[in-house]
């Protein structure tokens, strides 16, 4: 079920200069959400910015009927959102999208996040540990940022007990380089991902690399993709990604409805 309604903003936290965490009291959304889902938010009531903005569900509290989003201010929409105060009611549409597919069994999940890609992967991490009762030690979390100061949620990951491998482009923390390079090294070094379910989210070039690596090494990797999304519901066909699931004809799939989670081997990113 999808809902569109005004929901109350109940918490607002500034995590760094550009990164904010907002919490909503939204029983209808919480009850129907699963990791990888997103909400589509109307940030203002003026005609500019006009369209809704999409945000992954970052944390979900079933007991308190509330959920959080985590976002970075990158333009007018997120800027307006960052200035909302608790007590305000925001027009949310959700939960939307297909969600991650969580394979049965005790294989060790590998999560690979780049930048704000942390948001959907955190919700997955919470879910794996808390709902799926997967031992946190079995989960690998690879997390890349440009610089040391960019990381968020490290405390949360620690608390969950998940081992986290960091990568920074300037080497100021952890591995020096892209998180995809760190990932590739792990793939080559060990056999740890061969039969592991992999989950990844990050900027477009990273998703492209993850897709290529998955095809090359035949990995079972799920990507959370982004696109400009006018409707978020699957009605406008504005958010498509090229896929070739059956090895045949190219085929456009809707990121909002058929995704945002796709098998990395299925999509053709450019």
């Amino acid at each position: 079920m999808v809902f569109q309604k005004k929901f109350e903003l109940i918490s607002s936290q500034k995590l760094s200069e550009k990164i904010f965490r907002l919490g909503f009291f939204a029983p209808e959304i919480v009850k129907n959400a699963c990791p990888g889902n997103f909400v589509h938010i109307r940030v203002g009531d003026k005609s500019s910015p006009l369209l809704r903005r999409a945000f992954s569900i970052f944390d979900l509290d079933l007991k308190k009927d509330c959920f959080d989003i985590l976002f970075k201010v990158v333009g007018p929409g997120t800027e307006i959102l960052s200035r909302k105060s608790t007590g305000e009611n925001l027009d949310l549409l959700g939960p939307l999208g297909n969600g991650f597919e969580i394979p049965k069994g005790d294989r060790s999940p590998v999560l690979v996040a780049g930048g704000m890609g942390i948001a959907p992967l955190m919700s997955l991490a919470f879910y794996l540990v808390k709902n799926q009762k997967i031992k946190p030690e079995k989960i690998s979390f690879l997390y890349g940022e440009r610089i040391k100061g960019g990381f968020v949620c490290l405390e949360d990951l620690k608390e969950l007990g998940i081992k986290t491998l960091l990568a920074t482009e300037d080497g100021s923390e952890g591995f020096e380089g892209m998180v995809t390079e760190l990932f590739l090294r792990k793939v080559k070094e060990t056999s740890f991902v061969k039969d592991s379910p992999i989950f990844s989210c990050g900027p477009h070039p990273m998703m492209k690399t993850m897709s290529e690596l998955s095809k090359k090494h035949n990995l079972f990797c799920q990507l959370s993709l982004e696109s400009h999304m006018p409707c978020g519901l699957g009605a406008c066909w504005g958010c498509v990604v090229k896929t070739n699931r059956d090895g045949g004809e190219p085929d456009y799939k809707r990121i909002c409805k058929d995704g945002p989670i796709f098998d990395a081997r299925e999509v053709e990113l450019d």
């Binding site: 809902f3 569109q4 005609s47 006009l50 809704r52 498509v240 090229k242």
Partner: protein
Amino acid sequence: MVRYSMPGRWSLTDLSVRVGKTTFKNPVLVASGTFGYGEEYSELFDLNQLGGIVTKSITLNPREGNPPPRTCETPSGMLNSIGLANVGVDRFIQEKIPFLNKFNTNIIINVAGSTPEEYLRVVEKLNHAQGIDMLEINISCPNVKEGGMAFGSDPESAHRCTSSIRKVTNYPLMVKLTPNVKDIVEIAQAVEDSGADCISLINTLVGMAIDFRIKKPLLKTVTGGLSGPAIKPVALAMVWKVSQKVKIPVVGIGGITNTQDALEFLLAGASLIQVGTSNFVDPQTSVRIIEGLKDYCEKNEIKRVMEIVGKLEN
């Protein structure tokens, strides 16, 4: 299909609108391409409330549409270059019409094509389908290489295209015009002369957006169609001009987001309106407008919503 003419909450106001032999329970339709085939929105509200649903353009064969990125945002508007992505008329009749027929609202099938023959073949196939109330002929799509807008850009080809369709079907015809012309009135008149039952306007304006950082257009197809509140003034002017020069009803489209906008279009001369881009912003726009029109009429003691149509004072 409309089974009752005035459903919904009991009201003193008659919101129904007649276009030829077709009755709309209220003047609020949803525009082609912005409401899919109704499925997605049916989860969010009761589609029975709508005056009508105009489906995404249908072509003879399935079409994948244009490569992404297909949309971007502009000041008070958006650009799209979906490019008539659709399942093709056969699958449409099989899979989509049965779903639409569950609802007590008018179903208007938007038809497009790359050649005049393609329009005719789609229409002929639709002749055999059930539960269609009207066809909207899209001679105004800016997002395809062939056909589309070309047919609607001059009076002769608009006349030719509409008359040939008129000959092969008994469905009432709504013909959708492009604003990318010098004089939309002459095209509307040509369409009227060729037997259309009503005229809908406007489709999108040709527009473009650029990401200066990467020096690339934001749409893969470079140009696309501009819609949303930004184009409302253009749409209103065209509706006003056309409705004064044709006798058949006019359907107003372009940037309608609320009751006030809808009233403006009715005053300018539109008998029906279509909500497009605003379905994305607030999926319940159309039902809020229906409620709003009801309230407006009741407060102003207007018995039939049709009384407002064209009542602009100069």
